[in-house]
Structures are given as C-alpha cells and as structure tokens.
C-alpha cells in the first residue's frame, strides 16, 4: 500500500521548493506521482515535509568506535532501550551508543541515511559487521587512505596510474563509498611517535609530503569518477594556527573538489590574551570564493563526550593536555587511531571559543550548500544534539541566551557575538539533507522529486525549533512509516551503499602480492571484504 502526505508544506531545496503546499506520494519505497486510491493518508497540516536527513560524517561503526564504547562503560548506564519500550533490540546509550540505539535515535530525529567516514581498510570487515546491526538507516563508509604505505611507495616513484588502480582495488576490497584522508602523513610518522606540521614536510620512511598525498588521491578520485570527492581531515588539527594549514591545503588543492571535514577543529588562530582565537572570518572569506570546497562543521556540544579519530598523534596530545584515558591503535601499513574521553566545559575559555567557532562557520559561510551540520559525532558532541544546534541557528535570541552562559572572557573575544543571521527552514533542509545528499552524490536522497527514495521526515511546526526537530510527527523509510511522534514504531533494515570504480590501466597485482608478503600479517586472499558482509548492498555508479 502507498502513502499520501496531504496538507503539508514541502521543503525540497534540490527542486527549489520552499514551503510549497502539495501532496507527496510514496509507493513501493519511492516517491511517485500517484500512490493510488487506496493509499494510506497522512494529514500533515501545520507540518513541514522534508526528505529524510542525511548525515555526511558520523563515527558510528568500526574498531575505534567500538573501543570508544568499551572505554565509556560509565556513560552507558544512564540511558537504555528495551523491548518493553517498543524496540526490537535492547541496547545502551551515551555518546558512544550501541549499534541498535544509534539506528533508533537517528530515525527518531528524522534521519534516514548516515556515513561512517573513517574506516581503516583492515577494519572494513568489522565496520560492515557493525553496520548490519545498525537498523533504520541507509549507510556507507569512507576508507582511510591518507597514510597508506602502498600509496606512499607509488608516490615516491611518481606512479599516479598505480595510485588510481590501487584506490579502485581497495575500494572494492573494503566495499567503500569514498575515500577519506586523516592527517596525511602525520599518522604514519606517529608510528615513530612523530607528527608533521607543514604540508611540505617529508615523511621519515618515504620521500613524500602531505601536499603530494592529497593531490594525488584527489586527482585519482576525480579520474575514477567517485560520486563524493576527497573527504579531508587536515594536518595540525586542534592546534592554534591550524587555520593556516587549512589555507595552505586549499591553495594546494588548486581548485580540485574537496570536502573539508569538521572544520571547526581546524579554524584556530593564536592571537588574543590566551593565544587562541577564532579564524573563521578569514576561512569563511576563502570558502565563500571557492565553490569547489564544502565543509561540515563539527559543532561542539557542551558536556561529556569521547573523541575518536585516526589522527593518532592528536589524540596523544589531547591525552597529555587533560590526563584522560587514552587508547592508541596503530594499523599496520595503513593508518592509526586514538580514543580519548573529553568534557567540553562552559567555564573553559578554549572550549567556549571552539563552540562559538562552529556557529560562526554556519553563520559566516554564505552558501548553505557549502556548509553541513555535523558534530563529528561523537568528537565534538553527540548527534542527538542536532535539534539544539538547529535552534541556535534559527533563533538568534536563543543563541544569544546560550552565549550569555559561556565563559565571560570568551564572550568578549568571539566574532559570534555580533552575528545576527538566522537560518530558515529551507536552509536547515540544505545543511541536513539536500546539501549533504548532493555532495555525497546520492541522487535518490535528500529530495522529494519523482523517483527519489521514499525517505521522508514530517515535522510539526513550532516556534521551539529544538522540540520540532527532536520529535518528528512521522518518519518514513523506504515507503514505510517507521517513526511516529518521535518514537520508533517499526524496525527496518537499511542498505549499504558502495562504489566500485574500474580502471584497468595499470597492473598492480604483483606489487600488492609482494607488499602483503613483506609488510602485512594477513594473506592478500583473505583481505577483501565480500558482498556477503553487507546488508542490502547497493552499488552506486561512478560519474562519467
């Protein structure tokens, strides 16, 4: 049976529809012209109707996420879900929630698609096993290649065709959707306790620089026609003057398409009394004049969280700063990871500047199609805080009230204090679904045109935008009502999207066999992840 949504105001930025009163028809899991006479009718009076939310960057599955769960048992105690409460599978919450909880909580905010953005190739099998246990959502993963020693070897010899061939091989071997780079070269140096601070600094074992790494991988990805461009976590994250690295990186990209992830963590200067300040105005100027760039924010949420990143040296730095627990997990030949629990405090000057920087990115980047809502879950805070963030963007009085609660010293210094911009529903739809889906190259998502996936969120209009986006009236996934009044009413399983680029220009088989024999501890034949590890695998075609 189909579904027809009547009387709602449709917000579909991909089709430039802004609060258009029309019906939406869904049948057989897709948006259709007519759902038929027997369609189940939802009365969406006083509601806005949007496509299901699409999160472009959220750490929800894989080895390092599981270490975060392991290391925060205290955090799981305060929230749990049960079968008696209406959920098919029980679980625990907290910032590093269990897989089932993660799926339910996303759906209950109106999200229907998420991307796990940082999986080392050797962890892909694990990440896919976890993703099977995340219900309600379509999923995809990005594979980490910014510290790949195989790529470094090819770069030393200037063998770009082989880099391209390897990327197509590894994406198939990991069933990945796109490629992410984290601290290019830096995590490799961390294997000797080192790091690097400049994009033209050479590595220790390889005659290679971060500039070469990002350019080579970005070019290969463009030539392979990957639907999502390079997803980049820049060098020097979290450090004063990290904004200079961003500018150097943008210049090095020379107009190539790039997504700079959780830019909040890289927008720091070293001015002011505390030698730490916001450099968002400078970065926003550059982004506003470079349409090849998109970013997601990584908005800080005050409170307890756990940081997890492939940036091994950064996590050690964070551990040294605060003395919290610290897990480090270097991955042979490929990458690394670190896990450190962290508290963002309103009384901390630095934390408050970080918090303000996130909002400044949203408010100073003019085009919402270039800036997306994330908390880099759970690094800057849990995704469950999205409705609160939306309220801060849409309601400047609420935002000012929040500013009045942070450290007085920070209040004086932050550029945020003079910003008056307020987001519209339309712009919120861009930064939470239309823009992310478009940047991901997921053409069936983020909009409500004919043929799109039947993933819909219906929110009751309210002046309290936090409440509005916390408790959707309905969420529809693949044409089925799965959430009602902010509560899961039906468990469904999503697809896993992957991309399989082909090249065929270079022969790397014997190179790989030698490399595995010499440096890996796993046989190359046991390395690739087969489709049997994916639930409802969905091949996404490459661009022409």
């Amino acid at each position: 049976m189909g579904i027809r949504i009547d009387n709602g105001e449709v917000i579909d930025p991909i089709h430039e529809e802004d609060c258009v009163s029309r019906s939406v028809h869904i049948k057989d899991g897709k948006i259709v012209k007519d759902a038929g006479k027997d369609a189940f009718v939802i009365d969406a009076k006083d509601c806005v109707v949007m496509a299901g939310g699409v999160d472009i960057h959220t750490h929800v599955a894989g080895p390092k996420v599981n270490f975060a769960r392991l290391m925060t048992p205290e955090d799981h105690r305060y929230e749990h879900i049960t079968r008696e409460g209406g959920y098919e599978r029980s679980g625990t919450g907290g910032v590093a929630a269990t897989t089932y909880t993660t799926g339910y909580r996303y759906a209950e905010m109106g999200y229907t698609t998420i991307v796990e953005p940082a999986v080392p190739p050797l962890g892909a099998r694990h990440a896919h096993e976890e993703m099977v246990d995340i219900p309600m959502l379509d999923k995809a993963l990005f594979v980490l290649l910014g510290n790949s020693e195989i790529i470094f070897q090819y770069l030393e010899k200037g063998e770009q065709e082989k880099v391209k061939e390897y990327i197509s091989w590894i994406m198939d071997a990991t069933k990945a959707y796109s490629v992410k780079i984290v601290n290019p070269g830096g995590t490799n140096l961390w294997k000797y306790r080192g790091n690097l601070s400049d994009i033209d600094e050479k590595l220790r074992d390889f005659n290679v620089t971060p500039r070469q790494i990002i350019n080579s991988i970005a070019d290969a990805m463009t030539e392979l026609g990957l639907p999502h461009p390079l997803h980049l976590h820049c060098n020097n994250i979290g450090l004063p003057d990290s904004y200079k690295t961003v500018i150097a990186t943008i210049n090095a990209m020379e107009g190539r398409p790039v997504h700079l992830t959780h830019l909040q963590f890289n927008s720091y200067g070293s001015s002011g009394k505390r030698k730490f300040n916001s450099q968002v105005p400078a970065l926003a100027d550059i982004i506003n004049s470079n349409p090849n760039i998109t970013i997601d924010v990584g908005q800080v949420v005050f409170g307890h969280t756990v940081t997890i990143t492939a940036d091994g040296p950064f996590e050690y730095h964070l551990h040294k700063l605060g003395g919290q627990k610290w897990y480090n997990g270097d991955v042979e030949c490929e990458d690394g990871c670190g896990v450190v629990p962290y508290d963002y405090k309103r009384k901390s000057f630095v934390n408050c500047v970080q918090w303000a920087i996130g909002l400044e990115l949203f408010l100073l980047i003019d085009d919402p199609w270039q800036v997306f809502l994330t908390t880099d879950h759970p690094n800057a805070g849990p995704f469950m805080a999205y409705p609160t963030i939306i309220k801060m963007l849409m309601d400047k009085d609420f935002r000012k009230e929040q500013i009045s609660k942070i450290s007085a010293e920070a209040q004086l210094e932050i550029p945020l204090k003079v910003l008056e911009r307020e987001y519209s529903f339309y712009e919120i739809a861009v930064i939470t679904r239309a823009g992310t889906a478009k940047r991901l190259g997921m053409t069936d998502k983020g909009h409500i045109g004919i043929g799109a996936d039947g993933d819909i969120a219906i929110y009751r209009k309210s002046n309290d935008y936090e409440e509005m986006f916390s408790i959707p009236a309905y969420v529809i996934k693949d044409g089925e009502i799965v959430v009602k009044d902010g509560k899961v009413v039906k468990q469904v399983d999503g697809r896993t999207y992957y991309v399989k680029p082909t090249t065929g220009h270079a022969d790397i088989k014997s190179d790989l066999e030698d490399f595995f024999e010499n440096y890996y501890t796993i046989n190359i034949n046991n390395y690739p992840v087969g489709l049997e590890y994916l639930h409802r695998p969905q091949l996404t075609p490459c661009l022409d």
């Binding site: 590093a96 050797l122 694990h126 000797y192 897990y327 997990g329 270097d330 042979e332 796993i522």
Partner: protein, 320 residues
C-alpha cells in the same frame, strides 16, 4: 578488558610489531607453548620494513617466574618472584619518571636490571610489551594489566611503546567486540532487566555460578567444567544445561541436552577476530552434518517467544 576501561592503552596491530619493533618483552607469557606461531609471524624472527634481518634486528626479553620454553628464543631472561608483578611495574614507572627507590632488589629482581630494562625501553625505536596469563590470572589480576598500560603511557613520553595482551581462546576478541557494539560492554552483561547491565564481580559467570543464581544454562563453544573454578563449575551439574559443541568435552559429559553443531572456521565459514582486533574471514574446510550454532539458538528463541505469547493470551483471558 577492565584495565582498558580504566585507562586505555597504547596498542597497534601485529603488523606494526613485525615492521618496526626492535624491542620485544614477553611478560608472564610463554608464546613457545601458548602462541607457537606468534614468534615467527610477528614478534621474533618475522622480517619487516625496519627489521629486514628479522630476529637479528630485535632484542627479545622474557620475564617470568620460571625458565619457560620461550626463554631459549630470547636474548635476556629476567626471573621474577611469583605475585610481584604489580610491585615491579610500580618501581619501573618510578624509574621511568626519574625516581630511583632506595633498595637493591624488587620482586626478586636486582634494581639495576630494572634500571637497564627501563633505559632499553626508552631508547627503543618501537618497544612492545606482550603480557599473558602470568599477569592477568595472578595476584593483582586486572590491576597488573593497568600497571602495564600505565607503564606503556609513561614510556610513550620517550619512545614508541606498545602494550599488548596475548589473548588466547579462539575468537575471544570477536565475542568481546560483538558484545560491545550490541550492549556497550565486552563481558559480564546481564539482560535480566530487559536491557544490558554490566558489573564484573557480580554478573561475570563465576560470580553467578558461585551464588547459584542460574537455574538453566546454555553453553555455546565454551568449556566451563574444564576452565572454571571447581566450586563454580559444580553448580552446572545441578541445573539443566544445554551445550552446543561439535566435540565431546568435560562439559558435554554433564549436559542435559547436547546439540552438536558445526565447528566455526572448520566446517562453516565465518569471521574470527585476531588478538589485535583484526577480523579474519574463516573458510569452511571440512564437511559436517550438523547445523550452524545460530540455527538451534534461533529455534530456541522463537519457541520461547511463542510460548510467552501463548502464556500472555491465557493470562489475558484470566484477567478478563
């Protein structure tokens, strides 16, 4: 696991050890007998990026209470008095942080030996401390592991240093991982209230059995009669037990119901997690007439669900 929860650890996959480690310490671990392939594949003779000559590029130390068969593969053997590991690591952490205690011997080891060992760790390109059940199952238990992880963190101020447990028991790491992503906790999970709760010391299997709390046990791919303390295992003889296992074991001897199942990784394909958390796809190599573990388990669950819903119907009738 508890030690990891308390403080974390500096770790890596075993390929990092193979490629870069030039100092290997086995502490309370006897890989020659417990992990016979470890030495050749990863930690001893394995050749790697910075260890092109394999064994010659590494210094291997064994610390144990007795001269185990692993000692003959080492460059240095340090004998420790049983039950003194925590004390020795505390002193090593003092030395690492610049405090030399006023004593000649610690845990049966000359102080100078420990000073030399710490110095060697500080100077290593990559030092790795592997520890086994000689640490985790002796006096101090997880506190010993915590002390080791803290030592690893202290060493990270000076050199690349890893502290890695020598996990045993086929796929214990996989079991911990799945428990963790589904419940948030790696073991000792109690679903009694309808959601996962975690409290080692209360909900771990030995504690439950000692309190004689379980009135039925389903045992999958485990050998509690052989492995658990006698007093705990004894309770299993007094309650109905359903054992899923492809082999005759001491536990199947006391079972009320035995369901023979395929051996995972032998007669059915699947995934097992290595001690360094890398998942490995296992192929089926032998035929077996038995079902996979999940078939009898889901059959049991579905049957329970059916009985429960029938009971509800009957209760509903009574109430009306």
């Amino acid at each position: 696991m508890v030690a990891l929860q308390l403080g974390g650890a500096p770790a890596a996959t075993l390929g990092e050890v193979k490629n870069r480690a030039d100092l290997i310490i086995f502490w309370g671990s006897n890989p020659a007998e417990s992990h016979p392939r470890h030495f050749t594949r990863y930690s001893g003779t394995a050749k790697g990026r910075m260890n092109p000559n394999g064994r010659k590029d590494r210094h291997v130390v064994v610390v144990d209470i007795r001269k185990t068969p692993s000692v003959k593969y080492s460059d240095e053997f340090i004998q420790i008095k049983p039950g003194n590991d925590y004390e020795v690591f505390t002193v090593m952490r003092m030395i690492a942080n610049g405090h030399i205690p006023d004593t000649d011997m610690v845990g049966g080891i000359p102080l100078q030996t420990l000073i030399d060992l710490v110095e060697r760790c500080k100077k290593a390109r990559m030092g790795v401390l592997f520890f086994g059940q000689g640490i985790t199952e002796t006096k101090g238990k997880h506190q010993n592991s915590t002390a080791i992880y803290q030592f690893g963190k202290d060493m990270t101020k000076h050199s690349k240093f890893l502290t890695l447990p020598m996990r045993g028991h086929y796929n214990v790491v996989g079991s911990g991982n799945v428990m963790c992503w589904q419940t948030g906790y790696p073991f000792a999970v109690n679903f009694g209230k309808g959601y996962p709760r975690f409290n080692p010391g209360e909900f771990s299997v030995v504690d439950l059995l000692l309190r004689r709390e379980p009135d039925v046990a389903v045992i999958v791919a485990a050998e509690p009669i052989d492995h658990l303390p006698y007093a705990a295992a004894k309770h299993l003889e007094n309650i109905p037990t359903i054992v899923l296992d492809p082999r005759k074991t001491l536990t199947t001897k006391i079972a009320k119901v035995i369901i023979p199942v395929k051996h995972a990784g032998v007669s059915v394909e699947g995934t097992a997690y290595r001690m360094d958390h890398i998942p490995i796809k296992m192929q089926a190599v032998l035929e077996s007439p038995w079902p996979k573990d999940d078939i009898p388990l889901s059959t049991i669950i579905n049957r329970i669900k059916k009985i429960r819903s029938e009971e509800k119907k009957t209760d509903g009738g009574k109430a009306a």
